[in-house]
Subunit: 356 residues, 2 copies
DNA sequence: TTGAAAGCGGTACCAT
DNA sequence: ATGGTACCGCTTTCAA
């Protein structure tokens, strides 16, 4: 059997408290006794106080949990997520706190709920988890501090937030395209509906999107185009099964291969936009000349590709989320952080041209 | 005060065991009672069984800890690490297990040790942590399963391993350069010595490197060149302060600005190699023509840059590490996995040319 | 089907 | 400086 504190205490002939102090409060006992205790512990193969028991007693886990949209590994697939996590990691490690990536399952919601309930953490960071997902409720009912990466009103009061004005951001992108003369555009989304399939979407309006971010981004575009008489039904909306380059290319194909090919493609993420550019290339089309493309996030890959996109601070979004979580401000106003966005114009957008 | 199992039990008028069963073993009590318990719990704001207490009692944490070379955030900075973690994440999440990134501190070793001791996990994955680091000893003494990403003999018996033959890999790269006529080469390392400064290194031999991986990779190159009479002292060794592109460029500068400029640069990682290519570009030199460059890892950025490098399986290295950890094989032979490497020749290497 | 009791492995207050 | 004693919150035989 694995030795415990008691084992060591008995062997040395002291009390548990003293052994405990030998580890956690060296100043509470004579150096000599401490040395003897530590030596005996080593001899017995005692590894030091058990982490779980210590956490239970101290009431502190020393880690914050991170929840991702879909799966745990998505954290290492999406370039924006990686940047965000870098920031989050920097903030928490400064504090000696760890990061627990919680395994959510796409197939088994019960498993996800269990994972959230069993997570030994002091707080949670929620990265784009759909509001209807059961794990979110499980998470909130734990009563721990929670920070989300969306800036929105319809959440439990007091929840920490760090986000951007998604809608205003895409409005800027839409105005840019409008100014370039574009009137026939396609929207590339990644709504991750239960059975996400790549293909055209026929929705009554932006409000039908299931994801907050998707809803907001699409709304921004729709608003701007509506102002000039281009209604919702005039927009070509194509959903991508996943937020990946390949999926973006597939989705873009649906728009590009239409008889009334759009002159511009507005993608909800850079990954989708880069995929759209791949699709253009495959058809011998040049971004910014034949068809304009915009993205969202400004991931590192965007600049070399010449992608016009909305930049949002990735790393600092993570850092701020971490700081908020580790030391939640009292003032409600400080519990919600709105970060700036900026439209970065590159070569992938240009004047609308008539089709040759 | 937060409600506990007891609170709920008292409120309903049953015992703790029954409430516990209501959550963990629904079949052990009448559906009706269970419903009443759950309703009361909700009313009381009871969030369900405490994660830490449950872990303690069950003796299972539901997570594996991950240790990184330097800091936690490095996990999201190094492209190879990101790929590795993706694989690891995929493996563990399949099992419903989480990933706890343990915060190591560069400055405060005691803090790192504490972080390892307090990590609530069922096992550890060690990613390139130097063997002399105190946290490693703390980790091993916990007696949990451990998997390391290096294939080597001088570790505690039974430790799980998944790695590559680093030395053989760089031997292949060196032979490639040799075949192209290169005799005067520079080595770019990232030994992360305590006070890592970028600059020339004057070591007695490859054995002086503090890191296993560095030692092995450099040894491979040295061995091959020694065979043709190019000794250790003929090699230009420059250390980079960090494993980053910028640092690699800085280090490469030391080699490139010498009077006897090397005709080839062998970098210990792709990041350093890409930095070296940056340094070449800054000097108007063309990789593969003026100076050849090789890297290690074959990260995604390597191909577009035309970098000749050693490929090692990044994602599957992570997957295998995870599988090993979650279900350690009995057979000692299966506890150590040697993965293949492959030299990928691209445009960054070419025939050695006399300096113009 | 439900409950009593015994831990899981420690920590920290309060005496001595 | 050291020890006694609760107690952290839950799970799990085992008995009723």
């Amino acid at each position: 059997m694995r030795p415990t504190l008691q084992t060591v205490a008995d062997a040395v002939g002291v009390s548990r408290s003293t052994v405990s102090n030998a580890y956690g409060r060296p100043d509470q006992l004579s150096p000599e006794l401490r040395a003897r205790i530590l030596a005996t512990a080593k001899e017995l193969g005692y590894a030091g106080p058990d982490a779980t028991a210590r956490s239970l007693r101290r009431g502190r886990a020393g880690a914050v949990g991170v929840l991702f949209t879909t799966t745990l590994s998505y954290a290492f697939v999406d370039p924006f997520a990686v940047l965000f996590l870098r920031g989050l990691a920097e903030a928490v490690e400064r504090n000696g706190t760890g990061l627990l990536l919680v395994p959510l399952s796409t197939e088994d919601e019960a498993a996800s709920v269990a994972a959230v309930q069993n997570a030994v953490v002091d707080g949670f960071c929620v990265y784009c988890v759909p509001e209807w997902h059961g794990s979110l409720e499980a998470l909130r009912s734990r009563g721990l501090p929670v920070v989300t990466t969306e800036y929105r009103d319809d959440v439990p009061a007091g929840e920490l937030q760090v986000g951007v004005d998604e809608r205003a951001a895409t409005r800027a992108a839409a105005r840019h395209l409008l100014g370039l003369g574009h009137r026939r555009i396609a929207l590339l989304t990644n709504d991750m509906a239960p059975k996400g399939e790549t293909g055209p979407l026929d929705l009554a309006g932006p409000g039908d999107f299931r994801y907050f971010v998707e809803r907001e981004r699409v709304s921004g575009v729709a608003e701007v185009f509506a102002e000039v008489g281009v209604g919702w039904d005039d927009l070509i909306v194509v959903n991508a099964a996943a937020n990946s380059r390949a999926s973006g290319a597939q989705a873009a194909a649906h728009a590009l291969d239409r008889a009334d090919r759009p002159t511009a493609i507005v993608a909800c993420t850079d990954l989708l936009a880069l995929g759209a550019m791949d699709a253009l290339a495959a058809r011998g089309l040049t971004p910014g000349r034949d068809v304009s493309v915009t993205g969202f996030d400004d991931i590192p890959e965007a600049a070399p590709a010449g992608l016009t996109t909305v930049r949002q601070p990735a790393v600092s979004k993570g850092t701020l989320a971490g700081e908020l979580l580790l030391d939640p401000p009292e003032d409600p106003a400080e519990r919600r952080l709105l970060l700036p966005t900026e439209l970065i114009v590159r070569a992938s957008t240009g004047p609308a041209t008539m089709r040759r």
